[in-house]
Subunit: 235 residues, 2 copies
DNA sequence: GCAAAAGTGTTAGAACTACACCCATGC
DNA sequence: GCATGGGTGTAGTTCTAACACTTTTGC
């Protein structure tokens, strides 16, 4: 039909915004920064940036995540593209949101400070700029789904973690309480946790055994068509 | 940091591509068109177009869907944003893919012909341009998930449908065979199907009772927090 | 009357849920 | 020795999956 489809098309900006989750003992947390340019300068915002012509969406999301946390090889997944006409008052901008899961204790505190970044409990979030609160809602919903179908919870914990910590994490993600025995049975029945002989005495005198997640074993099982390795924690 | 974030950012094109599913008696099908402009003119492609500055992503996806099918109020959901640098050889373009579920018998055949559109079995797809085959793979995966967790199957059927038709649809979506008795029990136990007193004799001499999906009742149950209305057909 | 699809119940095994006590340790 | 969190087993119930025959009708 139209002879010059490409030349007639309208150019616009493509942005990325990262919803960064962390877990700190008793709470699921989210990383927000103080925006350092107008409009909305000084208000809380997700970490974001604009897509460059020389990088893919995934690469850009990683670049932005690294610029704030210093962390590479992080769990990062595209969430949704947000494209309301007036979502950004300055320029027509489509934003592709990504969510990331990090171990809250490993990120670069200097970089964080430089960006005016701060962790917020997901139960006590400030108002964020633009449609960023919507993005967070969508990310939480996705995390809840994802965590009960695939072993992503481990991404929020240190490499070595205890079963009580893992349970607490799931309880925070789902805002509910879980039965200790049933939780342990289910987790261990998947046969992808390796028990170490170390104990963590951070939370109790007796101490709890540390485990690691056996990613290779898990991948192997998945490749062998065993789609039931990871059983939903919550329907 | 940078003083002119917006002016330094690079503009680019945002496209939309629609993966349109239909169901025809024995097969899950997908609508592809013959591309009518360069590059790749004459090759099979998803129906697509460019985002305008005056419309949201959802609006644009709907516009594109309507321009091909003539259908309004269609089930349409965002799938994923595809943003590899070289995915479009002409211009740097980020494409946001949407998938749609339509009743294959209701669309506008004139419009279809004008676009050189054609239905393909998902088991016998031609090569599509750019990354469109990847988009289809992702859409199928999403459809499989979605159909087992929410009652979207009905969108692919006429308003009135029989249980054998519904079962066949699920069998096509999941490429498997289902037990007739278990399927019927499960579907009816959700208590969101209304049995009419009409029979459809298209497929058998005896005829099968026609049902409709009670969307209001379903929504009511969801609002009342009954998250177990729709039980997964397949784990 | 027969071919072809529609419709209907039961049962064994698996999975889920609820529940209470002992253990190890630091103070 | 006691307070604190870590660790363990069972039984009742529910859900799932497998299975075969009767019904209706058009030809």
């Amino acid at each position: 039909m139209a002879p010059h489809r490409y030349t007639e098309a309208e150019q616009m900006l493509v942005a990325l915004d990262c919803i960064i989750f962390g877990f700190d003992q008793n709470e699921l947390k989210l990383l927000a920064i103080k925006r350092d340019f107008e409009p909305e300068k000084g208000n809380w915002s997700l970490m974001g940036g604009f897509l460059r012509r020389t990088e893919s969406l995934d690469e850009a999301a990683n670049r932005i995540l690294i610029s704030l946390t210093g962390l590479k090889n992080i769990y990062l997944e595209q969430l949704h593209a947000f494209g309301e006409v007036d979502r950004d008052p300055v320029e027509r901008t489509v934003s592709v949101a990504y969510y990331a899961l990090i171990d809250i204790h490993t990120h670069d505190k200097e970089l964080m400070k430089a960006h005016g970044a701060s962790w917020f409990s997901i139960h006590d979030m400030p108002d964020l700029i633009f449609d960023h609160n919507h993005m967070v809602d969508a990310a939480l919903k996705r995390l809840r789904y994802k965590a009960s179908h695939q072993p992503v919870g481990f991404e929020l914990l240190p490499e070595k973690f205890t079963l009580p910590e893992l349970q607490k994490l799931y309880e925070c993600i789902y805002d509910t309480e879980l039965d200790k025995r049933n939780f342990r049975r289910r987790m261990l029945s998947m046969d992808v946790l390796i028990k170490t002989d170390e104990k963590l005495k951070k939370y109790s005198k007796k101490g709890a055994f540390l485990y690691t997640f056996d990613k290779e074993k898990y991948n192997e099982k998945i490749e062998n068509g065993d789609s039931t390795v990871f059983k939903p924690i919550l329907s």
